[in-house]
């Protein structure tokens, strides 16, 4: 039973570019959340997807957008990258909004 998988593991982009990160949830999970973790900080909530809809959004600009597919996998898109977007991006899945989160290994994004 595969856990949460994320791709790619590492990514280097230039300021102003766009990036797409991908996540496949754990089998049996239909809810996907994305978190950004800056160096030395705890994860910060970006948004959550359920039934292909954005159910809740954290305090992130519209440059951050997402999508959930019918098979529950999800994408995180970031446009017009800034240096401050450099971080570890974590995807978490759960069988319900209120139950335990299971995290993938993350995508480490570096913006130069």
């Amino acid at each position: 039973d595969a856990g949460v998988t994320q791709s790619p593991t590492h990514l280097i982009k230039t300021r102003g570019q766009q990036v797409t990160l991908r996540c496949s949830p754990k089998s049996g999970h239909d809810t996907v959340s994305w978190y950004q973790q800056a160096l030395g900080q705890g994860p910060q909530f970006i948004f959550q997807y359920y039934e292909e809809e954005e159910r809740q959004r954290g305090n992130f600009p519209d440059r951050f957008s997402g999508h959930q597919f019918p098979n529950y996998s999800s994408e995180l898109n970031v446009n017009a990258l800034l240096l401050g977007d450099s971080a570890l991006y974590l995807c978490a899945s759960s069988p319900d909004r209120a139950l335990g989160l299971h995290f993938g290994n993350g995508t480490r994004l570096t913006v130069t």
Partner: protein, 109 residues
Amino acid sequence: GIQVEQSPPDLILQEGANSTLRCNFSDSVNNLQWFHQNPWGQLINLFYIPSGTKQNGRLSATTVATERYSLLYISSSQTTDSGVYFCAGLLNTGNQFYFGTGTSLTVIP
């Protein structure tokens, strides 16, 4: 939002020692969880503990929901316990887990 304070921020232990990590919430939360983040960045779910006490091997956790805090106990620490420990909780309404700033643990042989 809510504030999540974790203490201590840093901890260095000799292998075999015991420790207690604390997590305080500024508001009532549900679905409290403890995570261990290894040096490679992987977040491992340790406990899902909205209330009461749970034990898993050398680790145990206690949450006192009415007083808005949770404790993580590590006994007979090992070098593989090194990493950052996070607690996180969910408000009664909403779908956002709020994380603390973590406790960085180093276990030396």
